[in-house]
Structures are given as structure tokens and as C-alpha cells.
Amino acid sequence: MKPFRSFIPSLAVMLMAASGGSGAQGVLIDRSEIRFVSKQTGGTVEGKFRKWKANVDFRPKEPARSRAEFEIELGSIDLASEETESEVRRSLWFDTAKFPVARFASSAVKDLGGDRYEIAGRLSIKGTTKDIVIPVVLKKDAAGNSVAQGQFTLNRLDFKVGEGLWADTATVANEVAVRIRMVLPPVE
């Protein structure tokens, strides 16, 4: 085992050495995720989106030139049951027939120091666009990939997600904690 273990860091160094230059990075989708936690009658409900696209050009040294864009297929939501999934696709929630995707486009990336960044941008869901700020922590994994983890709170009612009989926040809370994890390969 020992010789093998010592091999891993050197591989990582080789991969990092191979990187350099700049350009749009392909996010490693399989290892990345967009999850959320909402509150329902006091308990937490976990979910995630199965299908989404990301276009990220993250330059730690040049935050001003960094960009991040996401397109989330809302119909690909993964929730407690088929019943809840088909419910949130309906018009009172996401209305995926009319608004199939949610979009986020960054407008500014700020370096807060210590591997912490702030991505400001515009989020569009169900025909409503709002300015949001996503705090992100950046780390390197053993293979030299950059792992960006961000979390922000989204108020579902700002986007008319869960209208009418669902607007009562005692049953489903307004606040939804969105957690993003993006794994970016070393820049080629």
C-alpha cells in the first residue's frame, strides 16, 4: 500500500503541472450537484436537480474576468416521491410547461480572500428575475480539481413558487437553502 499512496500526490502534481492557460472550464457534472433543503411542517425535505448545465470560467487570480452561468431543468427535480415531484412541476409551483428552466448568470465575482468568493448575479425562475449573491468557498481536491461550494437562501415566494393554497408558509417554509457544489477540472 505504501508505495502506491506516495504515488497519488505526484500524480496530482503532474495534473496540476499540465494545467495552465485559461478558458471556459467544463464542470465535472457527475461529481457536482445542485441540492436544496426546504422545511415542511417543521421537518427538513431534501431534494436536488438531476439535469442542469453550467458554463463556468473561474479565474481565482482574475475574479473580474470570471463568469458562471447555470441552466437548471426544473422538471428534473428529485424529491420525496413521484407525487411531490409531479406536484411541483404544476402551475402553482414551477409551472415547468411554461417555464422549463431556471437560469443564473453572474454579473460580478468578488475575491473575499482566504479562498472565499462572492458571486453576484441574476436568477430567473418562473418569469421572475432577482439579484442574488452566492458566497462560495474554493478548495482543491487531491486530483487538482477546484471544488467550489456555495450556499444561499432563496425565498420561494419571491419567484411565485408555491402559490395559492401553497403560499401558507406554515406548511412549506418560504426559505429554501440551496447548496451548490461544482467540481472544476484544472484549466487546460
Binding site: T41, G43, V45, V172
Partner: protein, 176 residues
């Protein structure tokens, strides 16, 4: 010889909760999806967790205060009664546990009475959730069958045998 007042109270309180929990469970699954359905699911879970806690309390009480001696019974009836009671106790633990695990598997955490968050017993897993849903349902219908046997036997003792077995578990209002 009667059961202690505490044992009688715990028995009937649990019985009421089981009837309510079962009825709510049957009814809520037929509701149209909406906030009301989610709320009734929460109440159903609270009832189940209450049964679980009361059963734990009850077994502790039973261990400290053994039940009154048995009335003379044919051997098969004695065995059938013992088996039914053991199974009833087992189900009073297993049914809430299966429901709680099922809820965890669907990614919905349980907050007892809306105040006390319970840990998730398993990670979110749709395949497991489908299995647990079936298990929870089957255990409940098993409980229904056992409760019918239990109530039937109690009534038989009271009406046919007239041996005072049911009276031992009734609240101790003045009796002849």
C-alpha cells in the same frame, strides 16, 4: 387481580392512538396532494412516535410491575394469548420505526410535535422508500388482524367465559 392504574391508562391511551393513527393513515393517503395532506402526514408521524414512546414506557412499567396472574386457561389459549401479546408489542415498536425509516428514505425528516427533530434513520433512497412503504402498510394490516383477535378474545372472555379477564384492564370505576 387487576392491572395497575398506570398499566390500564397506558393500554387505553396507546389503543386510542393506534386507532387514530391507523384511521389518519388510511384517510390521508387518499387526500388530494396539498398542504392539508402534508399536515396530516405530520400528525400521523407524531401519533406513531407517541405510540413508540408509550410502548417503551409501558414495557418498562410492565417489567417493574408484572401483570396479574393468568386466569386458568386451556394450554393453546394461553399460548395464543402470549404470542398475540408479544406480537402486539413488537408491532407497536416496528410500525412507528418502519414509518420513521420510510419518511427518512423519502428525504423528509420527522420533527416530533413540530418541536423535537428526530435523526434520519437512513439516507434518501427512492427504491428503499418504496420497499419501506410496503413494509409499513403490511405491518399495519398485520396489526389490524392481531387487534381483531385481541379484541375478539377479550370479548369472548367477558361475554362467554365471564372470567373477569377484560375487567382487569378496564378503568377502575366502581364495579359490582
Amino acid at each position: 387481580m387487576r392491572y395497575t392504574g398506570t398499566a390500564v391508562a397506558l393500554h387505553w391511551l396507546t389503543a386510542c392512538l393506534i386507532v387514530c393513527g391507523f384511521a389518519v393513515g388510511l384517510w390521508m393517503t387518499g387526500l388530494a396532494f396539498g398542504p392539508q395532506k402534508l399536515r396530516w402526514h405530520a400528525y400521523h408521524k407524531w401519533i406513531g412516535i407517541s405510540v413508540f414512546l408509550l410502548t417503551a414506557l409501558r414495557m418498562t412499567w410492565r417489567w417493574r410491575h408484572p401483570p396479574p396472574p393468568q386466569v386458568p386457561l386451556p394450554e393453546w389459549q394461553r399460548r395464543a394469548a402470549a404470542a398475540t401479546h408479544i406480537l402486539l408489542y413488537a408491532l407497536m415498536f416496528l410500525i412507528p420505526l418502519s414509518g420513521w425509516t420510510y419518511s427518512s428514505a423519502t428525504g423528509v425528516s420527522v420533527v416530533y410535535l413540530g418541536l423535537f427533530p428526530l435523526p434520519d434513520l437512513v439516507a434518501k433512497d427512492k427504491t428503499l422508500a418504496a420497499v419501506l412503504k410496503a413494509v409499513h402498510g403490511t405491518l399495519n394490516y398485520t396489526l389490524l388482524a392481531l387487534v381483531i383477535v385481541h379484541v375478539g378474545a377479550a370479548l369472548k372472555h367477558h361475554i362467554v367465559d365471564r372470567d373477569g379477564v377484560l375487567a382487569r384492564m378496564l378503568p377502575s370505576w366502581p364495579r359490582a
